[in-house]
Symmetry: C2
Subunit: 224 residues, 2 copies
């Protein structure tokens, strides 16, 4: 059983990745993790064994990958540090949004619980990271994927599941960052994209990308 302070960066990175897949309701797979972490599937298998030995995941060969309660607790702590780091970078240091994720992904391993707490204090216990992910409790999720969203209804972007620099930069150009208001105008048939209207303009978002954008009907309270 692993102790909080004793995890290597690699172990933390795997826990974080597994947690992300699970949160996105996507079963973590060997290949998926390999792509996400930019290592080979063989390396993932090796680490999965080690994580299982540490009691952080439940797993047997060729089987499902799931965090144990202990692994989940640790993963949450890591993701929390990541998101607090993102807020510090974005709000205090004014790092451009598309770089924020990658920078935080290194910082998260260097933040002590104490410093993380001080960041939260300093920023007034923010609820969301700059991409719209909750920093603390996962709460119940009333969002839907942009891919599944109904046509012609007012919608708000809640969060971006894909935080890579290219995606964030692209969506920033389209004004599709969290809090952006939009409507789905059309859906192109057979594998085509989603036509959205945002800020008076229409763009087409490809299926794969649309699937990673979570939206909701606007909350009455959020109309500033």
């Amino acid at each position: 059983m692993a102790q909080t302070g004793t995890l290597t960066h690699a172990v933390e990175e795997y826990l974080e990745a597994i947690h992300r897949f699970a949160s996105a309701r996507e079963g973590p797979t060997t290949t998926g993790l390999a792509e996400h972490l930019d290592v080979t599937p063989a390396s993932v298998t090796g680490m999965l064994k080690r994580l299982a030995d540490l009691g952080l995941i439940a797993y047997q060969r060729y089987g499902r990958i799931r965090l144990t309660p202990a692994g989940d607790r640790l993963a949450h702590a890591i993701v929390r540090r990541h998101r607090l780091a993102e807020r510090l970078l974005a709000d205090v240091l004014e790092v451009p949004l598309d770089q924020v994720h990658d920078e935080a992904c290194r910082l998260e391993h260097a933040l002590s619980p104490d410093v993380a707490g001080r960041i939260a204090d300093k920023l007034g216990d923010p609820e969301l990271c700059p991409h719209g992910h909750p920093i603390d409790a996962q709460a119940d999720d009333r969002t839907m994927s942009l891919l599944d969203a109904p046509k012609s209804r007012a919608l708000v972007v809640v969060r971006l599941e894909n935080e890579s620099p290219e995606v964030v930069r692209y969506l920033a150009d389209q004004k599709l960052l969290p809090k952006a208001r939009l409507k789905v105008r059309a859906r192109e048939p057979v594998g085509g994209g989603v036509v959205v209207e945002v800020d008076g303009e229409r763009h087409t978002i490809g299926r794969e990308l649309a699937a990673t954008i979570r939206v909701t009907r606007p909350r009455r309270t959020s109309r500033t």
Copy 2:
């Protein structure tokens, strides 16, 4: 020849340590580095070889350890990130001074040049770390060790060469942090300490500790 982004944390940590010894006019030694880094002398020898292969230090068995120009440039960059991190922790996040060094010692490896630059911007290009070490150029050093300081003259603490939590906490208690004004009142004979008067009170500082406190005659401009 090593590239900036390609250094491992361990290599960075050794460069930093070697740089610290050199800055403190103390020749870096295998044993000294081993103690500082909390590894065995044998491990240090192994790493020294690797650093020599990388062209970062000039060194041959049983010989002097010196940074090459390339190693020195990298070491400076690392130490600069360390001290900027310290200022961020101390000034923005209000981390207690005695913890600041250790936290920064992990953060320094996770800061990109871009983020380091933004910290410097945000803080208005600070000149000193919270322990009194210069963040950029080393400039000429007019300080002396408290151990060598003349009796009965007004002195100011410039910096603490030893930034460990115990030392910083102890000196904070004695009000001997940078900018503190003091006078040497006496020197105990044979290995004894230095009796200083600070803030109206007298304390005795042991030889070893006194040697790590750098002081100077007060600059006329610094009398606020």
